[in-house]
Each structure stands twice: as C-alpha cells, then as structure tokens.
Symmetry: C2
Subunit: 428 residues, 2 copies
C-alpha cells in the first residue's frame, strides 16, 4: 500500500502530508470529461459557431448545464452576488484558505466550444476525481466558473473588488448591461461588493485553458506552463467625417470616415510589425455609419486591441497609434477621438505554482514549455490577490475564438491530469 | 392680350402653338412648394437624419403625404403595378404621348429632405400651376413619383421593363424584398410587367433634382443643365480570412479579413486618385464578422461604388480594382470574391430637352452651367426609352445623402420655374 492507497482508505483519519508530484500521479476520468464537453457543444451552437455570449439565453443554458455538473460532482454549487458559480470540496483543515481552480463557460460571438469550458469542466472533474478516489486534501478545494469572461473578465474583476457602481451600466455583447446580466444569471447586483475576495482568502488559483496560439501545436508540446499574462489595452476610435453623395462628390472634396478608418487600420498594423517582438495589435470591430453603398461614411467606430507582457511597450505603441490618428485626421479632413476601454496590466504567474504545474506534468510524462499567455484570462485578475498559475493545452492550428477552435480529447485529459496533481501539491 | 393670356382664356378652343421660352415665362407658387417640403421634413426625421428608406413605415407615410398633394393638385393619382405614383394633366390632344416629369420621395439611411422630394413636389406644383393658370398644353402632362430610387432606381427600372422575376427577391435597405415592398406600397407584384413603358409612350422625361455635388454652389450658378448621367458600377467584395484570438495569434500567423479590407479600401482610393479626371470610387458600406474587439475578423463584406461618364474608364478601373484584390489576397492570406451588384451605363441627355431647359432658364434670367450628373437618377433609366433632360439646383456645400443636405427655397423655386417653362415648351 503506497501513501495514496493509504489515503484513499483512510479519509476519516487525520491527514498525512501527501508526497510530492514524483509519486505515481492521480488521473481524472478523461472520457467523462470529454463527454461533458461533447454534450456542451450543442448549447449555443449556430451555423456561425458557438454563441454563448454572457447573459444570452445560450449562456443561461450553459450555466444550467454547468450547475448540474457541480451537483453531480457533489460540489453543492452556490452563486455569489454577481453570479460566479462556486463549489467546495472540503479539506481536512477548514481553517485554511482554499485552493481555487476554474475558468468560464461564456463564449465570444461565433466562437468555439473549448475556450473556457475545458478549464471549467476539468476543474469539476478534478474535484469529482478527488472525491471518488477518496483523496482527502488538507486545504479546501474551491471550483469556480466566472461569469462573463469574454466581455472583459467581469466575474473575476468583481472577485478582486475592481468593479464600481458606474461600471454596472456597461453594455455586454448580449445587449444587456452588466447590471441586467447579473439579475438574469441569478445574482443580486445590490450586493455585488460581497463578491470581492481579499488577499489571503485564496491559497492559490490555477486555471487550465487552451493555448489560443499555435505554439504548443506547432512544436508538438503537450503542456504549456504559463509565465504570465500579457497586459491588454483596448481603445475605441471614433472617426467623424461628413456624409455625402458617393457619385457627386469629387475625390478631393471628401471627408471620408471609412477611408480614414482604413488608413488607420493599415497604419496600426504596419506600426506593430515594424519592430520584432511578440507585441500584437488588432482592429477586430468596425461599425460604419450610415453604412450605405452610395454614401460617403460620416462616422466609423472601431476598436484596437493591443497586447504585450512589457508595460513600457504598451505605452509606447499606444502613443504611436495616437500620433498616427493625428496624422490621418489631418490628411483626410476627419476627426479622431480615442477612448480607453480596457487597460489591464501584465500579470506574472507565481513561481511556486509554476513549479507544481511543471512537476505534475513531469510526473505524468508530458512534455512542457514555459510561455506567456497572449490572451487575457480571469487568472490575470486573481493574480492581484493570490498566487496564480495557468496550464495550457494545445489548440489545433492555434485557432480559437472561431468555430474551427479544436483541442484533442487526449490533450484535454492531459491538462486535467496536470491540474489534478498540481492541486494535490498545492493543497497539501 | 398676349398669346399666353389668350390661352388662359381659351382652354376649350383648339390649341394654338405656344411661343418659345422668350415669352414672359410662367411662374409656380414657390411659397406653396417650399411649404410642402417643410411639412414633409417631419416624416421619417430621426436624430440621425431623414430615414424614409423604401418600403419602411416612413416611406409609406411619405407616399401618403405625396398622394394627398396629387389629389389637391387635381391630378387624380393612380398607382401602376409596382407602386409608382402617376397623375395626369390632360392636354388638348389626348392622342399624343405625354411629357413626363417627376422624381422620388424615398431617402437613403440618415439622409436629407431635398434629394427626391424637390423634384417630385416641383412636378406636382408645375401641374397645379398650369391647371390654376388655365394653361392648356397640347400634350398630356404626366407627373410621376418613382418608388425606391435610392435602392437602385427600381421604379424607373420597372418602367423600362428591366426587372425580371429573379430580381424581385432582392432585399432592400428596409429589410423587405422588392416583392414584399411592392405589396406594402399598394402595388400588385404579379402584374409587375404591366408597369413597363415602351419607346414612343413618353414624349420626353424631365427631372428636377438637387445637384448633390458642390459645383453650382461653389460657382454661385443657379441652374445646372445636365448633359448626362454617369455610369455606375456597384460591386460587393467578400473577403474571407480566419477568425482567431487577437492576443494569442502572432502577427505573422494571421489571416485578417479586416486588415485586408482596409488595405483594399486604401488601394481603391489611391488608384482612383492616381489619374486626373472626374472618376470617383467609394467604399461606403462595410460589415465585419464576428466584429468583436478581441477576435481577428474572419470575414468582411464591403461594397465599391465606381462612377464615370466614360464606359472605358469604368471598365479599366474595375479591372484595376480586381487586380488590387488579387494582390492583397495573396499578401494577407485571405480570399476576395467580387460580385457585381449594379452596372448602369452612362445616359446622355437629349439635346432638344437640354435646349428647352436652357432657354427656360434664360427667359427667367437665371445663370446656367452645363454639367454631368455624378449621381444616378431615375432619368438615366428613362433615357433608354425616351428623350431625357435634367435640371439641377444648388445644394449648399455640395452636401447630400446627409442630414446636413440643404437647398435654399429660392433655388427650389427657380428650379420649379425652369421645369414649368421647359414643360410648356416640350408639350406644345
């Protein structure tokens, strides 16, 4: 009888410290986990992809499905005041801060089924595996599913107390305000401040997620040990020109907001690529008015998404984009107004948590690579109040936020196993 | 008693030919005409401008207002099978083909109150003036208000028999199909072919319209005598890339449809301006998918509006745009599909009709300039079956298809007076 077998048979006994990750590692039920994901794929599936944007009917259906998984796992789910879903597996010492694991189940518009659900369902599966295998941890294990990650990590921002009254009227992609959304998903917005956690409340936070870039997939590496999450700046650019007749207005008499927007989009791309490095900038959203074939556009509103791990690089490129806007407004006779929407700082992973993740992967015989996360995650918020780590699994072709997003079942199982053993190490 | 006074008193007598435009010219009631326009401004007015897109509720309200003006003018309005509104002032010889005058009352999205209504209401006022002043013409005078001009001169296209069954399912800006729209405005789509007129049915067609360019306004010229209407090519460009995560996808791993669309928009503008000349090209409409800040765009659909009086120039630029699309698709890893939407040939005005218009303006003491029309008009369709002429009045600042579109009351009255006397000359 090794130590783990002993623990399984003696859950009621005083806890003995578990060995390190070098012990024969535990394993989740990968078939069960992937079965949940396959069933979940039907929720919010449209011809354009998965559409479970926060607070939509499909998001509500996805949350109901998820709550049922919590219940099946014996996690007795509860909602905090903003609709984050929590469930606890008790440890032997209830006075200790819990290990927290989880992710989200909302999606972008026309997205895929893996970004979020993989980490959420794996966290549930990890807790269920520990319960079923009678592994008693010392610390409590909390599983969380954050609300509205894709709209700007709202659930985790609430959890670190970073949301104010004024923010509640922001409009989510579903068309609902955050305030309305919280009501729809069963929260109580009047008590939103009660969702905030403090430093010390959480022993550490570990999130499993698909990579969303192509690095692991291209290299054939099984597990990414995340070093940190890039800072993100989102800003909205409102370009105002003058609506006029597309046939009767000479080319040199125009104040064409569409042309100005196009020049800016090209200039942003050329600027970000003019320096070697991992920095990225994207114009992903653009709305023109009146948006009619035979009318010169009077206004375009577009957004820029700028990311990098280095705060100084973010600042420098933002200033460069501002200068480009000034140049283009004068050359096109339009006006540019820039408005910041999101400014999230880079968040570094905790070395000890990274160590547990790496050791867990090693014990499982999985290849690893240390890497930054170019995508934002709830983990970047929680990093401000607790040690944080993330586990990445490969996304085929590096595709995400797309109906073509796909992660192989074996990689999902690998990731869940790494999470399981990292939790065991963290909750000792 | 001059000849005109004689005619007023002898409407029942056999017709005597009217003198030329050198006679003291007739004049409309400009206050009444401008009063109708002021009242009409309330219909479809929104914070963004006038919205009377064809087949919308506001278009229906605008048509009801217009029908009432026909009735007040004693024109006994009738609808043809596609919903064009006609009213007749009988001439002394009902065996003769009528002179036809009119315009449209639908608008673009977020447009103004002058593009269309000026010519429609002036035509009604001309007929009413002739009736009130007991001026008996030899030819019948038909007043027409074409349906759905802004969506692609649908009413006048029906009138020249250029619409087929397949076209009826095209979707107008209101979201209604042409088929549905015809039902909504009181037509009978099953008989749409009965709306077609033949060569010889119309003695000539004269349309008064605001210029929609800034040439008359900048030069301080009162009347534009239109020499022809430019040919228009509209084509839709569907650019397909690959949706992917805006943070996690390296800049050199992207197939960004938004960036490709921006490069194409800039390239079209640079190309059209690379040659001196009046040719114009516009990207006025652009729809991105999924149109989300943190997702690289998978698809953009945009339209190009290309115009010139010279058919060879249209063809040459269209081919150049196609070549640019091929270059950009290979440099961005996207695919471009071009689809023709509209291909209307340049339409020349009839020299005799231009002569009547010029002589009429001269008799009224108004300054004139001969000019092409950069905007498309119903007149370009009717030119294929009847001699056509157009009268332009200045649009302040050359602004149209905009809530800032404005034409001074005196200029509208001038235009209506020119139309009136040109009709008298044409209907002799």
């Amino acid at each position: 009888m090794n130590r783990r077998q002993f623990l399984r048979q003696s859950a009621a006994l005083p806890l003995l410290p578990l060995a390190g990750a070098a012990d024969p590692p535990l394993r989740v039920d990968g078939g069960r986990l992937n079965g949940w994901l396959a069933a979940f794929d039907a929720i919010g599936r449209t011809p354009g992809g998965i559409n479970r944007v926060a607070y939509s009917a499909a998001d509500l259906a996805g949350r109901a499905f998820t709550l049922d998984l919590f219940t099946q796992a014996g996690l007795a789910p509860r909602l905090d005041a903003v609709g984050n879903i929590y469930g606890r597996l008790e440890g032997s010492d209830s006075s200790l801060a819990p290990v927290l694991i989880g992710s989200h189940v909302d999606s972008v518009t026309d997205g895929g089924n893996f970004d979020g659900p993989v980490g959420s369902f794996a966290a549930i599966e990890v807790a269920r595996t520990l319960r079923e295998q009678h592994v008693r941890l010392r610390r409590p294990l909390d599983v969380v599913v954050w609300q509205n990650e894709e709209g700007g990590t709202w659930g985790s921002k609430f959890a670190i107390g970073e949301v104010t009254d004024a923010d509640l009227d922001a409009v989510a992609r579903s068309g609902k305000t955050i305030r309305e959304g919280i009501g729809l998903i069963g929260g109580d917005v009047s008590r939103y401040q009660s969702a905030a956690r403090s430093r010390g409340d959480i022993a550490c936070y570990i999130e499993l997620h698909i990579e969303q870039g192509g690095r692991l997939d291209r290299a054939g590496t099984q597990i990414g040990v995340v070093e940190g999450i890039v800072g993100i700046r989102w800003f909205e650019v409102t370009i105002t020109g003058l609506a006029n007749h597309a046939g009767a207005t000479a080319m040199d008499q125009r104040q064409d907001a569409m042309l100005a927007a196009a020049r800016f989009t090209v200039a942003v791309n050329d600027a970000i690529r003019s320096e070697t490095g991992p920095q990225v900038a994207t114009v992903g959203r653009l709305v023109a008015s009146p948006n009619t074939t035979n009318v010169i556009a009077s206004q375009v509103v577009l957004t820029v998404d700028l990311r990098d791990l280095r705060p100084d690089v973010l600042t420098r490129f933002y200033q460069r984009f501002e200068a480009l806007a000034r140049e283009i407004e004068s050359s096109t006779g339009t006006t540019f107004v820039l408005k910041g929407l999101v400014d999230s700082k880079p968040a570094l992973a905790d070395p000890q948590v990274m160590g547990w993740i790496g050791a867990s992967a090693e014990a499982l015989g999985l290849s690893t690579a240390r890497m930054p996360s170019g995508a934002g995650h709830d983990a970047q918020e929680i990093a401000r109040i607790a040690p944080m780590g993330m586990i990445f699994v490969p996304s085929v072709g590096g595709i995400s936020h797309s109906p073509r997003e796909y992660t192989r079942a074996e990689d999902i199982t690998n990731g869940a196993n790494v999470l399981l053993n990292a939790v065991v190490a963290a909750a000792r």
